[in-house]
Symmetry: C2
Subunit: 338 residues, 2 copies
């Protein structure tokens, strides 16, 4: 076992876009597990948009990371020492080990990796938190019916790509929004979307409207901003909008210029009888078994595809995360720590 | 039978607040019912905020009233001649007779008045569309749990007053918002609200916060504007917001000045996992029996109170309606046409 634990801490709270200066690599001694704890060697680190929220002090559904504290994050980890009867050295677990080589953890939040999950990094993507976010948000809030139109942005990401594929499995039409022609091509060719729209194109709102001739019944919201503005007029009566993320605004330092368009939104909610509902995946913890069973089976049967964007080395996590917020990744962004 | 049918038609579409010039009283001959039709003498006319929407050409959940067409509206009416086997002269019905003395109607949308409804005007209020709006919006979307806090504005109106009373019957705490001390007094003394807040007071947001020490779990939205702005920061995680109306903005001719606050709203939806849902009462048509049974029983048992604001004479309907949009009525606004 190495003597040194490298860890990336939050050095400063970003005002706007984060950059390398907001993170700091530190080295410390590998910690020892206390009673009922395990020592983990993190092998895979998940990078996800929600982490931007943890870098800010603003109130949200979770506590912010403190200045000087290790950045939080889901990991696939190996148990290297255990003081807990349920876990033994050598076992692989899904944990919340953070941006570091080693972590000490209690049993809470540890889950033994299903050996069928291969590669293990899938437990951070299609078979993990992002996959379950797509599954629950789409099925429990979006509730697409056969023949309906489902729209999702950031559609080559781990959430969006599964939203579109589940929509199609349920008989709905899936329209994906992504940035650039390469990602749009993957939407139709890899993930089987019915249509792909490039939000960077000058005629984006018109192209989206053309791709949704029967309007939009479910808009899975994970970006906000200009995409939502283009979606709003296309929403059908009784459309459902699971609100999962608003990544387009995560780096905003001030509100957009006026006028105040919130009455437009509320009037649409009223006259179209829209159903908007915010959620995080843990709100649907009781759906974990159904998710694992369904998506595991679809994956095994080749009925859903996934794409990973693998970055090597803990030291490259900050730059990869900054790029994630700009849409530079292509597929689920994971860091290989070995 | 009088030879003359007086009717109030839409003379012009208002830009901003409607006034008398947007209506015109016309006189015509009393129409004759055709095959399967009945001739109605309207006795009571309901005036409701949704009618402002019908005066505009903007797309909504219902077609606008055409220029020169009779203003639409619910009525309690007497059948004076019938060509329909199910209805006989002398019967009293709830109809959509409009702002006029006489109307010809098909059977669709006619409902015989339950003789237990006394006075008959209650069929336009607590036992009619507004009552069912409160019942379904609160119970089917708001779903208050015992001990939760329910907030409603326009709370002395027929919808708001029943929302608060049903909330209390379900074990929740009811906080009502109204304009002026007299209405606020009625909220606690007549309708039994736990607290009443005057939205005209300079310290309205602070007073609302003080009246909701445990936050807000259900906000029944029927006004929008400054009230919603004060409510939004007080909403608890997982709060439900049935969106029933936005009367504060119905006369607006332009959007409020910037900045654009819609990201604030969407961020609240996400981080608090709010559930916003627009509805109109007819979306819950299958709940009509449950509504009639429950509210009828509560009324008979003296467990819910109501208040009517009765205006005499069809000719006074326009002025009364203009006042309704300004909150000048006090209770359910009905026009007695006899």
């Amino acid at each position: 076992m190495a003597e040194i634990n490298r860890r990336i801490v939050l050095a400063a709270r970003p005002h706007g876009e984060p950059n390398a200066s907001h993170f700091r690599m530190e080295e410390g001694r590998v910690p020892h597990p206390g009673e009922s704890e395990v020592l983990l060697r993190n092998r895979w680190l998940s990078l996800d948009p929600y982490m931007r929220g943890r870098m800010s002090a603003a109130k949200s559904y979770a506590e912010p990371v403190g200045i000087g504290e290790v950045m939080v994050g889901g990991t696939v980890s190996e148990v290297v020492a255990s003081q807990h009867p349920d876990f033994a050295a050598g076992e692989t677990v899904v944990a919340f080990g953070g941006w570091q080589d080693y972590a000490v953890s209690g049993a809470k939040g540890l889950r033994k990796l299903d050996p069928r999950v291969s590669p293990p990094s899938l437990a951070l993507g299609i078979l993990g938190m992002p996959g379950m976010t797509a599954y629950t948000g789409l099925l429990d809030i979006g509730r697409p019916k056969p023949g309906e139109t489902v729209v999702v942005a950031a559609a080559t990401g781990p959430v969006g790509s599964l939203v579109g594929q589940i929509a199609r499995l349920k008989g709905a039409r899936a329209v994906g929004i992504a940035g650039g022609p390469e990602k749009c091509r993957a939407l139709t060719e890899v993930f089987g979307f019915d249509a792909a729209i490039d939000h960077r194109a000058a005629d984006f709102p018109q192209a989206l409207a053309a791709a949704c001739p029967d309007g939009i019944d479910v808009y899975f919201e994970n970006v906000g901003g200009a995409v939502f503005e283009a979606v709003l007029p296309l929403l059908n009566d009784f459309a459902r909008v699971p609100v999962c993320g608003l990544v387009a605004g995560y780096n905003d330092t001030e509100l957009p210029a006026g006028p105040d368009r919130s009455p437009v939104l509320m009037r649409a909610v009223l006259t179209k009888r829209l159903h908007l509902q915010g959620f995080i995946v843990w709100d649907f913890a009781d759906r974990a078994d159904a998710f694992g069973r369904d998506v595991g089976a679809w994956l095994a049967e080749g009925r859903v595809a996934y794409r990973e964007d693998v970055v090597d080395g803990l030291e490259n996590a900050p730059e990869a995360f900054v790029g994630l917020l700009k849409g530079r990744n292509f597929g689920k962004l994971v860091v290989r720590l070995d």
